[in-house]
C-alpha cells in the first residue's frame, strides 16, 4: 500500500510586517510546515504503523528552501519525498487548477492507494486542491475529515466529516481516495532526534515539469493577484492603558458593572 501526503511549506507573516508589492515582504515571512498538513502526515504515518507494508511518500510543490520543511515530514516518519519545482513553476502564480495538474502528474507516477492532504493552507486559504485533485485523477474523496478508520484491506475508509455547529457526518469512502484532513484528527508527533538523523539520508526527489511529462502550459493560470493591503482596522474598542495591574483593575470594573462576576 502506498500513501501520498501533500505537504506545503507556508509563509507566516510576523506581527509587524510590511507589504512589498503584491506580497508580504520576504523578510517578514517565516516558513513552516502547513498546520493542516502536519495532521495529514501524522495520519499517514499512523496508518503505516498500524498496517504492514505501507509506504508513505510526501509530495511538495516548492523551491529548494522547502526541503527544510520536507525534512521535518521525513523526520516524522515519511519514507521519501517528491519535490516539484523548476523555473516555469517559480515564475507562475499557481492557482488550484495548476496545482492540481502538478500533483495529478505525481499521483499518476506514484499510483498511491490513498492521498492525504490538509484541508487548507494557512497562507492562501483556498481549501480546494485535495478535492480538485481527486476529481482530476478519478479518485473518490472526502473533505474536512476529523476521524478516520481504515478497513483491513485498504478497500474503504470510515470517517467523520466535521460540519458546522458541532455536527459530524459519518461517511464511508471507497479507495483509492483523497482525504482532506482537518486539525484535531490526531496529535501530530514531534520529530525525534533519531527521526531527524534518519531524515538526512532519506530521498527528496526533485522533479521538473518535464520530468512529470508537463510543460509550461501546465502552470498557466487565468487568476492573478492584483493587490494586497492591510485591512483597515474596524476596531472601536475601548482600550485599557497602563501596566498589567491598572489594566486588570479597569477590566475588573467592567466585569462588576456588567454584573457577571459572583453570580
Amino acid at each position: 500500500m502506498k500513501i501520498l501526503v501533500t505537504v506545503k511549506e507556508v509563509g507566516e507573516a510576523a506581527d509587524d510586517f510590511e507589504i512589498e508589492g503584491l506580497d508580504v515582504g520576504e523578510r517578514f515571512l517565516e516558513y513552516d510546515l502547513n498546520e493542516w498538513d502536519d495532521y495529514a502526515i501524522e495520519a499517514g504515518v499512523q496508518l503505516a504503523e498500524e498496517f504492514d507494508d505501507v509506504e508513505v511518500v510526501s509530495a511538495t510543490i516548492g523551491p529548494e528552501r522547502s526541503e527544510e520543511t520536507i525534512r521535518m515530514a521525513l523526520a516524522k516518519g515519511v519514507d521519501r519525498a517528491v519535490r516539484v519545482w523548476d523555473d516555469d513553476v517559480a515564475a507562475a502564480d499557481l492557482d488550484v487548477a495548476a496545482k492540481t495538474r502538478l500533483l495529478a502528474a505525481v499521483v499518476e507516477e506514484e499510483e498511491p492507494d490513498l492521498v492525504l492532504s490538509g484541508v487548507q493552507a494557512n497562507d492562501d486559504n483556498f481549501g480546494a486542491t485535495g478535492v480538485s485533485l481527486a476529481d482530476e485523477v478519478g479518485f473518490e474523496w472526502a473533505a474536512v475529515v476529523n476521524h478516520l478508520e481504515m478497513a483491513e484491506d485498504f478497500s474503504t475508509a470510515s470517517l467523520h466529516r466535521e460540519l458546522e455547529g458541532g455536527i459530524e457526518e459519518l461517511t464511508e469512502v471507497d479507495l483509492p481516495a483523497v482525504l482532506t484532513i482537518q486539525t484535531g484528527l490526531n496529535e501530530p508527533r514531534y520529530a525525534s532526534l533519531r527521526g531527524i538523523r534518519q531524515a538526512q539520508s532519506k530521498e527528496i526527489a526533485p522533479k521538473t515539469l518535464a520530468d512529470l511529462g508537463l510543460d509550461a502550459s501546465a502552470v498557466e493560470s487565468p487568476i492573478e493577484r492584483t493587490a494586497m493591503y492591510e485591512p483597515e482596522s474596524e476596531s472601536d474598542a475601548t482600550y485599557f492603558e497602563g501596566d498589567a495591574d491598572e489594566q486588570a483593575a479597569r477590566l475588573a470594573d467592567v466585569l462588576r458593572e456588567k454584573g457577571v462576576v459572583g453570580r
Binding site: V24, V96, A97, A143, H160, E168, T226, Y229, Q247, R263
Partner: protein, 329 residues
C-alpha cells in the same frame, strides 16, 4: 409523469447559478446569503439568478428560497441529504444546461466537498472564500491571506468561473420573490456512488453547556502550554465564569470538544465574553460575535479579535490574568 428538464434556449449568457445548502431538513443561512451574493453578481453581469437546490424536500425548500431577486429555482429531487457525488454531478449537469457566466457556492464544509470537483470537471477558474467581489468588465474578488492579516484582490480573466463565498459576508436575502420553479431531472444511484453518508453525530454535550453561560472566559493559542490552564482555571473559579476555548486548545486535547466556540464548535451568546490569547480567526468569531460585551486580552495590537471587541487589553495574559485574579480574590 416525470417533468421535462429546463431549457432556456441558450439565452443564459451573463447568468449566475448559485447552489443552496440544507442539512437535516432545514435550509442553512448560507443559502440566503448566496442569493444576495448571486443577485449582486447577476446584476453586474446583466443576467438572471438561478438557484439550485438538491436533495431532500426540494419543493418545500424551493418555496422558502423564493425570495426577491431569484429568477429560477432548479429543484433536483434525488437523495435526502448532502452527498458530494450527487451534488457534483447535479451541479455539473445543471451548469451545462443553464450555461451561466458564473457558478457560486457557499464556502461551507460541504461547499469544500463538491465545489472544487465541479470547477475541475468543468475547467472553471476557481476562487475560494471571497469576502467581497465586483464585476466591471471582469471579475475581481477580495480574499484574505496569512491568517486574515492581509486582504488581497484576485482578478479572473476567463469566463465562466466559479467562486465560493464566505458565510456571514453578505446579508441573507429577504422578501417574497416570484421565481419560476423548474424541476431538473438528474439520475443518481446512491448505492453506486464511491462515498456514502451513513449518519450524523452530535458532538457530546458533556457536563457543561457553554451556550447557556452568561460569562465565558475563553482561551486560545496564547496560553501556549497545557500547564498554563491552571492559571485560567483559577480565574474561572474566582469569577464564577464558565471556561470555553478556541479550536487549537481542543485540537491539542487540553479541553473537550464541548468547550469549543466557533463555526465547527458552539455558538455562544453570553453577557460577557472574555477572550484571552485568542487572535480572532473568522471561524472563531462566527461562534461568539453574538456576545453582548466582548473583552479581548492579546499581546498583538493588530489581532483581529480587537476589531469586534468592546474593550481591549493589549498586554501579556501572564501578567494581566494574575492581576485580574487578585482583583477578585
Amino acid at each position: 409523469m416525470k417533468p421535462e428538464p429546463v431549457t432556456d434556449g441558450g439565452e443564459a449568457e451573463g447568468d449566475v447559478l448559485a447552489v443552496a445548502e440544507h442539512r437535516r431538513g432545514d435550509l442553512r443561512d448560507v443559502s440566503f446569503e448566496a442569493i444576495t451574493a448571486g443577485r449582486q453578481l447577476a446584476d453586474d453581469l446583466g443576467g438572471e439568478l438561478h438557484i439550485a437546490v438538491i436533495a431532500g424536500n426540494v419543493d418545500g425548500f424551493a418555496e422558502t428560497l423564493n425570495r426577491e431577486g431569484v429568477d429560477t429555482i432548479h429543484t433536483v429531487d434525488a437523495g435526502e441529504e448532502f452527498n458530494h457525488d450527487l451534488y457534483a454531478g447535479a451541479v455539473e449537469s445543471l451548469f451545462e444546461e443553464v450555461e451561466p457566466a458564473a457558478l457560486l457556492a457557499p464556502n461551507s464544509v460541504n461547499g469544500l466537498d463538491y465545489a472544487p470537483a465541479v470547477a475541475n470537471a468543468l475547467d472553471l477558474p476557481y476562487v475560494a472564500d471571497a469576502v467581497d467581489f465586483a464585476y466591471d468588465g471582469g471579475f475581481e474578488a477580495t480574499r484574505e491571506m496569512y491568517g486574515s492579516k492581509v486582504e488581497t484582490t484576485v482578478a479572473v480573466s476567463e469566463e465562466p468561473f466559479a467562486v465560493t463565498v464566505r458565510g456571514g459576508e453578505w446579508p441573507g436575502a429577504e422578501g417574497a420573490g416570484d421565481a419560476a420553479v423548474e424541476p431538473f431531472e438528474y439520475e443518481f444511484d446512491g448505492d453506486a456512488a464511491g462515498s456514502r453518508v451513513v449518519g450524523f453525530e452530535e458532538v457530546a454535550g458533556g457536563d457543561v453547556d457553554i451556550a447557556e453561560a452568561e460569562f465565558l472566559v475563553s482561551i486560545g493559542r496564547g496560553i501556549e502550554e497545557e500547564e498554563n490552564l491552571e492559571l485560567i482555571q483559577e480565574l474561572v473559579e474566582v469569577t464564577g465564569a464558565t471556561l470555553s476555548s478556541s479550536r487549537p486548545i481542543v485540537d491539542n486535547g487540553w479541553l473537550p470538544k464541548n468547550r469549543q466556540v466557533g463555526q465547527s464548535g458552539k455558538q455562544v451568546t453570553p453577557d460577557v465574553y472574555l477572550a484571552i490569547g485568542i487572535s480572532g480567526a473568522v471561524q472563531h468569531v462566527a461562534g461568539m460575535k453574538g456576545a453582548e460585551t466582548i473583552v479581548a486580552v492579546n499581546t498583538d495590537p493588530n489581532a483581529p479579535i480587537f476589531d469586534i471587541a468592546d474593550y481591549g487589553v493589549v498586554g501579556d495574559l501572564f501578567d494581566v490574568v494574575p492581576a485580574l485574579i487578585s482583583e477578585f480574590k
